[in-house]
Amino acid sequence: MSVQILIVAEHDGTRLNVSTAKCVTCARAVSGAVVTVAVFAADAAAVAAQAAQLAGVDKVLAVDNPANAHALAAVLAPQVAALAGPYALVLGPSTTFGKDLMARVGGLLDAPQVSDIMAIESAVRFRRPIYAGNAILTVEAVDAPKVVGTVRTASFEGAASGGSAAVEKVSLNVTLPTHTRFVSVSAARNDRPDLQTAARVISGGRALGSADGFKILYSLADKVGAAVGASRAAVDAGYAPNEMQVGQTGKIIAPELYMAVGISGAIQHLTGIKDARTIVAINKDGEAPIFEVADFGLVGDLFQVIPEIERLL
Protein backbone atom coordinates (compact mmCIF):
# COMPACT_ATOMS: atom_id res chain seq x y z
CA MET A 1 0.00 0.00 0.00
CA SER A 2 1.37 3.41 -0.82
CA VAL A 3 1.59 6.21 1.73
CA GLN A 4 1.51 9.77 0.41
CA ILE A 5 3.94 12.03 2.27
CA LEU A 6 4.36 15.78 1.79
CA ILE A 7 7.57 17.53 2.91
CA VAL A 8 7.77 21.31 3.25
CA ALA A 9 11.18 22.42 1.99
CA GLU A 10 13.37 24.75 4.02
CA HIS A 11 15.53 27.14 2.02
CA ASP A 12 16.88 30.69 1.95
CA GLY A 13 15.43 31.64 -1.44
CA THR A 14 18.32 30.22 -3.43
CA ARG A 15 19.64 27.15 -1.66
CA LEU A 16 17.79 24.16 -0.25
CA ASN A 17 18.65 23.57 3.42
CA VAL A 18 20.06 20.09 4.21
CA SER A 19 17.26 19.70 6.74
CA THR A 20 15.00 18.91 3.78
CA ALA A 21 17.22 16.02 2.63
CA LYS A 22 16.97 14.65 6.18
CA CYS A 23 13.18 14.83 6.07
CA VAL A 24 13.32 12.82 2.85
CA THR A 25 15.32 10.07 4.58
CA CYS A 26 12.81 10.04 7.42
CA ALA A 27 9.87 9.84 5.01
CA ARG A 28 11.54 7.06 3.00
CA ALA A 29 11.66 4.90 6.12
CA VAL A 30 7.89 4.41 5.75
CA SER A 31 7.20 1.42 3.58
CA GLY A 32 5.33 2.35 0.44
CA ALA A 33 6.23 6.04 0.84
CA VAL A 34 5.52 8.30 -2.12
CA VAL A 35 7.41 11.50 -1.37
CA THR A 36 6.44 14.96 -2.59
CA VAL A 37 8.45 18.06 -1.67
CA ALA A 38 6.73 21.45 -1.72
CA VAL A 39 8.83 24.58 -2.25
CA PHE A 40 7.27 27.92 -1.35
CA ALA A 41 9.22 30.97 -2.54
CA ALA A 42 8.92 34.23 -4.44
CA ASP A 43 10.52 32.30 -7.29
CA ALA A 44 10.77 28.62 -6.44
CA ALA A 45 12.48 27.32 -9.59
CA ALA A 46 16.09 27.12 -8.38
CA VAL A 47 15.27 25.50 -5.05
CA ALA A 48 12.72 23.16 -6.66
CA ALA A 49 15.42 21.98 -9.08
CA GLN A 50 17.68 21.12 -6.12
CA ALA A 51 14.87 19.25 -4.36
CA ALA A 52 14.18 17.28 -7.55
CA GLN A 53 17.75 15.96 -7.44
CA LEU A 54 17.39 14.33 -4.03
CA ALA A 55 17.23 10.56 -4.26
CA GLY A 56 13.90 9.30 -2.99
CA VAL A 57 11.83 12.31 -4.01
CA ASP A 58 9.00 11.40 -6.38
CA LYS A 59 7.60 14.82 -7.15
CA VAL A 60 8.32 18.48 -6.44
CA LEU A 61 5.65 21.16 -6.20
CA ALA A 62 6.84 24.72 -6.82
CA VAL A 63 4.62 27.43 -5.40
CA ASP A 64 5.62 30.93 -6.53
CA ASN A 65 4.20 33.93 -4.74
CA PRO A 66 5.80 37.29 -3.89
CA ALA A 67 4.31 36.86 -0.39
CA ASN A 68 6.59 33.83 0.05
CA ALA A 69 9.79 35.90 -0.17
CA HIS A 70 10.24 35.46 3.58
CA ALA A 71 9.16 32.32 5.40
CA LEU A 72 6.33 33.62 7.57
CA ALA A 73 4.37 30.82 9.24
CA ALA A 74 1.10 32.75 9.06
CA VAL A 75 1.52 33.18 5.29
CA LEU A 76 2.86 29.72 4.49
CA ALA A 77 0.55 27.64 6.70
CA PRO A 78 -2.67 28.20 4.70
CA GLN A 79 -0.79 27.29 1.52
CA VAL A 80 0.59 24.08 3.01
CA ALA A 81 -2.88 23.25 4.32
CA ALA A 82 -4.34 23.85 0.85
CA LEU A 83 -1.92 21.31 -0.62
CA ALA A 84 -2.23 18.77 2.18
CA GLY A 85 -5.45 17.08 1.09
CA PRO A 86 -4.07 13.89 -0.49
CA TYR A 87 -1.30 13.30 2.06
CA ALA A 88 -1.41 11.07 5.13
CA LEU A 89 1.73 12.60 6.61
CA VAL A 90 2.93 16.21 6.31
CA LEU A 91 6.52 16.73 7.44
CA GLY A 92 8.87 19.63 8.02
CA PRO A 93 12.25 19.83 9.74
CA SER A 94 12.48 20.41 13.47
CA THR A 95 14.38 23.66 12.94
CA THR A 96 13.02 27.05 14.00
CA PHE A 97 11.52 27.31 10.49
CA GLY A 98 9.73 23.97 10.69
CA LYS A 99 8.70 24.15 14.34
CA ASP A 100 7.16 27.58 13.82
CA LEU A 101 5.31 26.55 10.67
CA MET A 102 4.20 22.93 11.07
CA ALA A 103 2.24 23.38 14.29
CA ARG A 104 0.27 26.17 12.62
CA VAL A 105 -0.40 23.82 9.72
CA GLY A 106 -1.58 21.19 12.20
CA GLY A 107 -3.93 23.74 13.74
CA LEU A 108 -5.45 24.59 10.35
CA LEU A 109 -5.83 20.91 9.42
CA ASP A 110 -7.02 19.88 12.88
CA ALA A 111 -4.34 17.19 12.67
CA PRO A 112 -2.19 16.09 15.62
CA GLN A 113 1.52 16.84 15.38
CA VAL A 114 4.38 14.58 16.39
CA SER A 115 7.32 16.85 17.26
CA ASP A 116 11.01 15.93 16.87
CA ILE A 117 10.58 12.56 15.17
CA MET A 118 13.79 10.59 15.78
CA ALA A 119 12.57 7.31 14.30
CA ILE A 120 9.59 6.42 12.19
CA GLU A 121 8.14 2.93 12.52
CA SER A 122 5.17 3.46 10.22
CA ALA A 123 3.08 6.33 8.91
CA VAL A 124 1.35 6.43 12.31
CA ARG A 125 4.00 5.23 14.75
CA PHE A 126 6.98 7.33 15.81
CA ARG A 127 9.69 7.68 18.43
CA ARG A 128 10.56 11.06 19.89
CA PRO A 129 12.57 12.48 22.80
CA ILE A 130 10.76 14.14 25.71
CA TYR A 131 11.97 15.71 28.97
CA ALA A 132 15.02 17.17 27.20
CA GLY A 133 15.91 13.74 25.88
CA ASN A 134 15.74 12.03 29.28
CA ALA A 135 13.04 9.72 28.00
CA ILE A 136 12.16 8.35 24.60
CA LEU A 137 8.47 8.06 23.83
CA THR A 138 6.83 5.85 21.24
CA VAL A 139 3.57 7.41 20.05
CA GLU A 140 0.92 6.09 17.76
CA ALA A 141 -1.64 8.23 15.99
CA VAL A 142 -5.14 6.86 16.44
CA ASP A 143 -8.31 8.32 15.09
CA ALA A 144 -6.38 10.84 12.99
CA PRO A 145 -6.85 10.90 9.21
CA LYS A 146 -3.72 12.99 8.87
CA VAL A 147 -0.59 13.48 10.95
CA VAL A 148 1.80 16.43 10.93
CA GLY A 149 5.39 15.95 12.05
CA THR A 150 8.67 17.73 12.59
CA VAL A 151 11.80 15.71 11.91
CA ARG A 152 14.71 15.81 14.38
CA THR A 153 17.44 16.43 11.81
CA ALA A 154 20.29 15.06 13.97
CA SER A 155 18.63 11.62 13.81
CA PHE A 156 18.77 11.22 10.02
CA GLU A 157 21.42 11.34 7.31
CA GLY A 158 20.56 13.59 4.41
CA ALA A 159 19.23 11.83 1.30
CA ALA A 160 21.88 11.54 -1.40
CA SER A 161 21.63 13.31 -4.73
CA GLY A 162 20.95 11.43 -7.95
CA GLY A 163 17.19 11.82 -8.15
CA SER A 164 15.32 13.33 -11.06
CA ALA A 165 11.81 14.06 -9.88
CA ALA A 166 9.40 16.04 -12.00
CA VAL A 167 8.80 19.64 -10.94
CA GLU A 168 5.23 20.84 -11.15
CA LYS A 169 4.26 24.51 -10.84
CA VAL A 170 1.24 24.99 -8.63
CA SER A 171 -0.83 28.09 -8.13
CA LEU A 172 -3.00 28.14 -5.06
CA ASN A 173 -6.19 30.05 -4.61
CA VAL A 174 -5.88 31.02 -0.96
CA THR A 175 -6.20 34.40 0.66
CA LEU A 176 -3.00 35.22 2.50
CA PRO A 177 -2.96 37.36 5.62
CA THR A 178 -1.12 40.68 5.77
CA HIS A 179 -1.18 40.90 9.56
CA THR A 180 2.38 39.58 9.86
CA ARG A 181 5.25 41.46 8.21
CA PHE A 182 8.93 40.66 7.89
CA VAL A 183 11.18 43.50 9.05
CA SER A 184 14.74 42.18 9.11
CA VAL A 185 17.06 39.36 9.98
CA SER A 186 20.49 39.82 11.50
CA ALA A 187 22.42 36.87 10.27
CA ALA A 188 25.87 37.40 11.71
CA ARG A 189 27.91 36.65 8.58
CA ASN A 190 30.61 34.18 9.22
CA ASP A 191 32.79 32.10 6.99
CA ARG A 192 33.09 29.20 9.42
CA PRO A 193 31.27 25.94 8.72
CA ASP A 194 27.59 25.88 9.61
CA LEU A 195 27.05 24.73 13.18
CA GLN A 196 24.22 22.39 12.22
CA THR A 197 26.12 20.47 9.58
CA ALA A 198 29.79 20.82 10.57
CA ALA A 199 31.79 17.63 11.08
CA ARG A 200 33.67 19.27 13.95
CA VAL A 201 32.29 21.63 16.53
CA ILE A 202 34.13 23.42 19.34
CA SER A 203 31.84 24.95 21.95
CA GLY A 204 32.63 27.32 24.77
CA GLY A 205 30.86 27.91 28.06
CA ARG A 206 30.65 30.49 30.78
CA ALA A 207 34.30 29.82 31.60
CA LEU A 208 35.42 31.73 28.49
CA GLY A 209 34.56 34.84 30.48
CA SER A 210 33.99 37.31 27.62
CA ALA A 211 33.45 37.65 23.88
CA ASP A 212 37.20 38.23 23.71
CA GLY A 213 37.79 34.98 25.55
CA PHE A 214 36.03 33.14 22.72
CA LYS A 215 38.80 34.22 20.34
CA ILE A 216 41.01 31.30 21.36
CA LEU A 217 38.19 28.96 20.27
CA TYR A 218 37.72 30.74 16.93
CA SER A 219 41.42 30.51 16.31
CA LEU A 220 41.54 26.77 17.00
CA ALA A 221 38.32 26.21 15.06
CA ASP A 222 39.73 27.95 11.99
CA LYS A 223 42.82 25.78 12.16
CA VAL A 224 40.81 22.53 12.14
CA GLY A 225 37.85 23.69 10.04
CA ALA A 226 35.38 23.51 12.89
CA ALA A 227 32.20 25.41 13.65
CA VAL A 228 31.96 27.21 17.00
CA GLY A 229 29.09 26.70 19.43
CA ALA A 230 28.25 27.94 22.90
CA SER A 231 26.38 27.04 26.06
CA ARG A 232 23.34 29.00 27.10
CA ALA A 233 25.30 30.62 29.91
CA ALA A 234 27.82 31.95 27.40
CA VAL A 235 25.07 33.28 25.13
CA ASP A 236 23.10 34.81 28.02
CA ALA A 237 26.26 36.59 29.16
CA GLY A 238 26.72 38.03 25.67
CA TYR A 239 29.97 36.18 24.92
CA ALA A 240 28.44 34.59 21.81
CA PRO A 241 25.36 35.28 19.63
CA ASN A 242 22.16 33.27 20.14
CA GLU A 243 22.49 31.29 16.92
CA MET A 244 25.54 29.59 18.42
CA GLN A 245 23.63 28.05 21.34
CA VAL A 246 23.70 24.28 21.52
CA GLY A 247 21.15 22.36 23.58
CA GLN A 248 17.50 21.78 24.36
CA THR A 249 16.59 25.33 23.44
CA GLY A 250 19.39 25.89 20.96
CA LYS A 251 20.64 23.66 18.20
CA ILE A 252 20.58 19.88 18.28
CA ILE A 253 23.68 18.71 16.46
CA ALA A 254 25.41 15.47 15.52
CA PRO A 255 29.03 16.23 14.53
CA GLU A 256 31.82 13.66 14.27
CA LEU A 257 33.76 15.57 16.91
CA TYR A 258 32.34 17.79 19.66
CA MET A 259 34.67 19.63 22.01
CA ALA A 260 33.04 21.11 25.11
CA VAL A 261 35.38 23.72 26.54
CA GLY A 262 34.60 25.19 29.95
CA ILE A 263 31.07 23.77 29.83
CA SER A 264 29.76 21.98 32.92
CA GLY A 265 27.46 19.60 31.05
CA ALA A 266 23.97 20.55 32.26
CA ILE A 267 21.29 18.17 31.05
CA GLN A 268 19.83 20.87 28.77
CA HIS A 269 23.21 21.25 27.07
CA LEU A 270 23.75 17.49 26.72
CA THR A 271 20.38 17.21 24.94
CA GLY A 272 21.94 19.03 22.03
CA ILE A 273 24.95 16.72 21.62
CA LYS A 274 23.59 13.23 22.32
CA ASP A 275 24.25 12.17 18.74
CA ALA A 276 27.80 13.50 18.49
CA ARG A 277 30.14 10.65 17.50
CA THR A 278 33.04 11.64 19.78
CA ILE A 279 32.78 14.07 22.68
CA VAL A 280 35.83 15.77 24.20
CA ALA A 281 35.53 17.64 27.50
CA ILE A 282 38.03 20.19 28.73
CA ASN A 283 37.18 21.44 32.18
CA LYS A 284 39.18 22.38 35.25
CA ASP A 285 36.70 20.63 37.55
CA GLY A 286 37.26 16.86 37.39
CA GLU A 287 33.78 16.33 38.85
CA ALA A 288 31.93 18.26 36.14
CA PRO A 289 29.03 16.20 34.72
CA ILE A 290 30.32 16.71 31.17
CA PHE A 291 32.94 14.03 31.92
CA GLU A 292 30.14 11.45 32.32
CA VAL A 293 29.43 11.63 28.61
CA ALA A 294 32.90 12.48 27.28
CA ASP A 295 34.87 9.95 25.24
CA PHE A 296 38.02 11.91 26.07
CA GLY A 297 38.22 14.04 29.18
CA LEU A 298 41.00 16.46 30.03
CA VAL A 299 41.05 18.14 33.44
CA GLY A 300 42.81 21.45 33.06
CA ASP A 301 42.65 25.19 32.55
CA LEU A 302 41.23 25.87 29.10
CA PHE A 303 43.28 29.04 28.72
CA GLN A 304 46.41 26.87 28.78
CA VAL A 305 45.04 23.76 27.07
CA ILE A 306 43.42 25.35 24.01
CA PRO A 307 46.47 27.35 22.81
CA GLU A 308 48.60 24.29 23.46
CA ILE A 309 46.38 22.08 21.30
CA GLU A 310 46.63 24.69 18.56
CA ARG A 311 50.43 24.69 18.80
CA LEU A 312 50.54 20.90 18.61
CA LEU A 313 48.60 20.72 15.35
Binding site: A73, A74, T95, T96, F97, D100, A103, R104, V105, G106, G107, L108, D110, P112, Q113, V114, S115, R125, P129, I130, Y131, A132, N134, A135, L137, T138, V139, A141, V142, D143, A144, P177, H179, T180, R181, V183, S184, V185, A187, R232, V235, D236, P241, N242, Q248, T249, K274, I279, E292, V293, A294, D295, F296, G297, L298, V299, G300, V305, L312, L313
Partner: protein
Protein backbone atom coordinates in the same frame (compact mmCIF):
# COMPACT_ATOMS: atom_id res chain seq x y z
CA UNK B 1 -9.81 46.99 29.07
CA UNK B 2 -6.44 46.06 27.60
CA UNK B 3 -5.78 42.55 28.71
CA UNK B 4 -2.95 40.06 28.34
CA UNK B 5 -3.65 36.36 28.63
CA UNK B 6 -0.75 34.16 29.74
CA UNK B 7 -0.77 30.37 29.52
CA UNK B 8 0.82 28.33 32.27
CA UNK B 9 1.63 24.64 32.51
CA UNK B 10 2.53 22.67 35.61
CA UNK B 11 5.61 20.57 34.88
CA UNK B 12 8.29 18.57 36.66
CA UNK B 13 10.86 21.12 37.86
CA UNK B 14 13.81 21.50 35.51
CA UNK B 15 16.28 20.51 38.23
CA UNK B 16 14.69 17.09 38.79
CA UNK B 17 16.53 14.10 37.38
CA UNK B 18 13.92 12.35 35.24
CA UNK B 19 13.49 8.61 35.70
CA UNK B 20 11.43 6.38 33.44
CA UNK B 21 9.14 3.94 35.25
CA UNK B 22 10.40 0.37 34.94
CA UNK B 23 7.14 -0.73 33.30
CA UNK B 24 7.51 1.91 30.57
CA UNK B 25 4.17 3.60 31.24
CA UNK B 26 5.56 7.02 32.04
CA UNK B 27 8.13 8.88 34.07
CA UNK B 28 8.24 8.98 37.86
CA UNK B 29 6.26 11.98 39.13
CA UNK B 30 5.35 10.82 42.65
CA UNK B 31 6.92 13.08 45.25
CA UNK B 32 8.70 15.06 42.58
CA UNK B 33 8.92 18.85 42.71
CA UNK B 34 6.49 20.54 40.31
CA UNK B 35 6.87 24.09 38.99
CA UNK B 36 5.61 26.55 36.43
CA UNK B 37 7.14 25.64 33.07
CA UNK B 38 10.18 28.00 32.85
CA UNK B 39 9.12 29.45 29.49
CA UNK B 40 5.68 30.27 30.92
CA UNK B 41 7.25 32.06 33.85
CA UNK B 42 9.06 34.22 31.28
CA UNK B 43 5.73 34.77 29.49
CA UNK B 44 4.16 35.99 32.71
CA UNK B 45 7.11 38.23 33.55
CA UNK B 46 6.86 39.85 30.13
CA UNK B 47 3.12 40.43 30.53
CA UNK B 48 3.70 42.04 33.92
CA UNK B 49 6.40 44.32 32.51
CA UNK B 50 4.12 45.40 29.66
CA UNK B 51 1.41 46.19 32.20
CA UNK B 52 3.86 48.07 34.42
CA UNK B 53 4.88 50.20 31.43
CA UNK B 54 1.21 51.06 30.91
CA UNK B 55 0.73 48.80 27.88
CA UNK B 56 -2.01 46.73 29.52
CA UNK B 57 -4.54 47.03 32.32
CA UNK B 58 -4.88 43.42 33.37
CA UNK B 59 -2.87 40.21 33.26
CA UNK B 60 -4.86 36.97 33.37
CA UNK B 61 -3.12 33.62 33.78
CA UNK B 62 -4.79 30.46 32.57
CA UNK B 63 -4.01 26.79 32.63
CA UNK B 64 -5.58 23.71 31.10
CA UNK B 65 -4.65 20.93 33.47
CA UNK B 66 -5.20 19.10 36.73
CA UNK B 67 -6.64 20.68 39.89
CA UNK B 68 -3.17 20.67 41.47
CA UNK B 69 -2.15 23.43 39.06
CA UNK B 70 -3.79 25.77 41.59
CA UNK B 71 -0.38 25.88 43.30
CA UNK B 72 1.32 27.20 40.18
CA UNK B 73 -1.53 29.64 39.53
CA UNK B 74 -1.15 30.97 43.09
CA UNK B 75 2.56 31.48 42.41
CA UNK B 76 1.63 33.34 39.23
CA UNK B 77 -0.78 35.54 41.19
CA UNK B 78 1.98 36.19 43.70
CA UNK B 79 4.27 37.24 40.87
CA UNK B 80 1.67 39.84 39.97
CA UNK B 81 -1.05 38.39 37.75
CA UNK B 82 -4.48 39.91 38.48
CA UNK B 83 -6.58 36.77 38.25
CA UNK B 84 -6.34 33.13 37.30
CA UNK B 85 -8.43 30.66 35.36
CA UNK B 86 -8.09 26.91 35.83
CA UNK B 87 -9.64 24.86 33.06
CA UNK B 88 -9.69 21.52 34.76
CA UNK B 89 -8.80 18.41 32.83
CA UNK B 90 -6.97 15.28 33.88
CA UNK B 91 -4.56 13.07 32.00
CA UNK B 92 -2.55 14.04 28.97
CA UNK B 93 -3.83 17.18 27.28
CA UNK B 94 -2.80 17.20 23.67
CA UNK B 95 -1.76 20.55 22.17
CA UNK B 96 -4.85 20.68 19.91
CA UNK B 97 -7.07 20.34 22.98
CA UNK B 98 -5.11 22.91 25.01
CA UNK B 99 -5.26 25.36 22.10
CA UNK B 100 -9.01 24.84 21.63
CA UNK B 101 -9.60 25.53 25.31
CA UNK B 102 -7.39 28.62 25.18
CA UNK B 103 -9.31 29.81 22.12
CA UNK B 104 -12.53 29.67 24.16
CA UNK B 105 -10.87 31.76 26.86
CA UNK B 106 -9.64 34.19 24.22
CA UNK B 107 -13.20 34.58 22.93
CA UNK B 108 -14.39 35.39 26.46
CA UNK B 109 -11.55 37.60 27.55
CA UNK B 110 -10.79 39.39 24.26
CA UNK B 111 -7.10 39.90 25.04
CA UNK B 112 -4.82 42.28 23.18
CA UNK B 113 -2.05 39.76 23.44
CA UNK B 114 -1.64 36.11 24.37
CA UNK B 115 1.81 35.13 25.60
CA UNK B 116 2.74 31.46 25.95
CA UNK B 117 5.99 29.61 26.49
CA UNK B 118 7.63 28.28 23.33
CA UNK B 119 7.55 24.75 24.71
CA UNK B 120 6.81 22.85 27.89
CA UNK B 121 9.88 21.09 29.27
CA UNK B 122 7.98 17.85 29.92
CA UNK B 123 6.56 16.78 26.55
CA UNK B 124 8.73 19.28 24.60
CA UNK B 125 5.95 19.57 22.01
CA UNK B 126 6.29 23.27 21.23
CA UNK B 127 2.97 23.56 19.42
CA UNK B 128 0.28 25.28 21.48
CA UNK B 129 1.04 28.91 20.60
CA UNK B 130 1.09 28.22 16.87
CA UNK B 131 -2.09 26.13 16.97
CA UNK B 132 -3.91 28.82 18.95
CA UNK B 133 -2.80 31.47 16.45
CA UNK B 134 -4.05 29.27 13.59
CA UNK B 135 -7.44 28.62 15.19
CA UNK B 136 -7.84 32.27 16.13
CA UNK B 137 -6.68 33.33 12.66
CA UNK B 138 -4.27 35.85 14.16
CA UNK B 139 -0.50 36.48 13.84
CA UNK B 140 2.07 34.44 15.70
CA UNK B 141 5.55 35.50 16.75
CA UNK B 142 7.34 32.52 18.23
CA UNK B 143 10.68 32.33 20.13
CA UNK B 144 10.55 35.99 21.15
CA UNK B 145 13.60 37.60 22.71
CA UNK B 146 12.23 41.17 22.56
CA UNK B 147 8.72 42.64 22.38
CA UNK B 148 7.90 46.31 21.72
CA UNK B 149 4.30 47.41 21.48
CA UNK B 150 3.33 50.59 19.64
CA UNK B 151 -0.36 51.22 19.19
CA UNK B 152 -1.92 48.43 17.19
CA UNK B 153 1.24 46.50 16.42
CA UNK B 154 3.97 44.61 18.19
CA UNK B 155 7.52 44.49 16.92
CA UNK B 156 8.96 41.15 17.97
CA UNK B 157 12.55 39.98 17.74
CA UNK B 158 12.73 36.19 17.35
CA UNK B 159 15.56 33.77 18.02
CA UNK B 160 15.83 31.73 14.83
CA UNK B 161 18.49 29.36 13.54
CA UNK B 162 20.02 32.08 11.34
CA UNK B 163 20.25 34.65 14.13
CA UNK B 164 17.65 37.23 15.12
CA UNK B 165 14.59 37.92 13.00
CA UNK B 166 12.29 40.90 13.51
CA UNK B 167 8.59 40.82 12.62
CA UNK B 168 5.77 43.32 12.90
CA UNK B 169 2.47 41.74 13.90
CA UNK B 170 -0.93 43.38 14.14
CA UNK B 171 -2.67 42.99 17.47
CA UNK B 172 -4.24 40.92 18.81
CA UNK B 173 -1.55 38.29 18.35
CA UNK B 174 0.01 35.23 19.96
CA UNK B 175 3.63 35.45 21.09
CA UNK B 176 5.73 32.57 22.39
CA UNK B 177 8.74 33.20 24.59
CA UNK B 178 12.36 32.18 24.40
CA UNK B 179 14.71 32.16 27.37
CA UNK B 180 16.42 35.46 26.75
CA UNK B 181 13.25 37.56 26.73
CA UNK B 182 13.66 38.42 30.41
CA UNK B 183 14.56 37.10 33.82
CA UNK B 184 11.47 36.40 35.92
CA UNK B 185 11.19 38.19 39.26
CA UNK B 186 11.33 36.44 42.60
CA UNK B 187 8.14 36.18 44.59
CA UNK B 188 8.18 38.04 47.92
CA UNK B 189 6.43 36.77 51.01
CA UNK B 190 3.86 39.61 51.31
CA UNK B 191 2.90 38.96 47.70
CA UNK B 192 2.13 35.35 48.52
CA UNK B 193 -0.27 36.57 51.20
CA UNK B 194 -1.88 39.05 48.83
CA UNK B 195 -2.21 36.38 46.14
CA UNK B 196 -4.49 34.34 48.39
CA UNK B 197 -7.17 37.00 47.97
CA UNK B 198 -6.92 37.27 44.21
CA UNK B 199 -9.61 35.53 42.14
CA UNK B 200 -8.91 32.00 40.91
CA UNK B 201 -11.83 30.52 38.98
CA UNK B 202 -12.10 26.87 38.13
CA UNK B 203 -14.18 25.44 35.34
CA UNK B 204 -14.26 21.96 33.82
CA UNK B 205 -12.98 21.60 30.27
CA UNK B 206 -16.37 20.24 29.16
CA UNK B 207 -18.03 23.53 30.21
CA UNK B 208 -16.08 25.26 27.46
CA UNK B 209 -17.55 22.84 24.96
CA UNK B 210 -14.12 21.36 24.24
CA UNK B 211 -13.71 17.63 23.93
CA UNK B 212 -10.66 16.00 25.56
CA UNK B 213 -9.62 13.97 22.52
CA UNK B 214 -6.64 11.64 22.48
CA UNK B 215 -5.18 11.24 19.03
CA UNK B 216 -1.67 10.29 20.00
CA UNK B 217 -1.49 7.14 22.06
CA UNK B 218 1.54 7.01 24.36
CA UNK B 219 2.71 3.48 23.60
CA UNK B 220 5.93 3.21 25.59
CA UNK B 221 8.43 5.31 27.55
CA UNK B 222 12.08 4.23 27.56
CA UNK B 223 15.26 5.53 29.11
CA UNK B 224 17.59 6.93 26.46
CA UNK B 225 20.65 4.86 25.55
CA UNK B 226 23.59 5.75 27.79
CA UNK B 227 26.89 6.78 26.33
CA UNK B 228 29.88 4.63 27.16
CA UNK B 229 32.07 6.27 29.77
CA UNK B 230 35.28 7.41 28.10
CA UNK B 231 38.85 7.85 29.19
CA UNK B 232 40.84 10.64 30.84
CA UNK B 233 43.85 12.01 29.03
CA UNK B 234 46.59 13.71 31.01
CA UNK B 235 47.44 16.66 28.77
CA UNK B 236 46.93 18.42 25.45
CA UNK B 237 49.55 16.26 23.72
CA UNK B 238 47.81 13.02 24.68
CA UNK B 239 44.48 14.44 23.57
CA UNK B 240 45.76 15.56 20.18
CA UNK B 241 47.37 12.15 19.71
CA UNK B 242 44.19 10.29 20.55
CA UNK B 243 42.09 12.45 18.22
CA UNK B 244 44.59 12.09 15.40
CA UNK B 245 44.55 8.31 15.79
CA UNK B 246 40.77 8.35 15.38
CA UNK B 247 41.12 10.54 12.29
CA UNK B 248 39.23 13.34 13.98
CA UNK B 249 41.94 15.98 13.66
Amino acid sequence: MKRILVGIKRVVDYNVRIRVKPDGTGVVTDGVKMSINPFDEIALEEALRIKERGGADEVVVATVGPADTQQQLRTALAMGADRALLVQADGVIEPLVAARALLKLVEREQPLLVILGKQAIDDDNGQTAQILAALWNRPQATYASKIEITGETARVTREVDAGLETLDVDLPAVISTDLRLNEPRYVKLPDIMKAKKKPLDTLPLADLGVQARTQLKLVRFEAPPQRQKGIRVKDAAELVDALKKKGLL
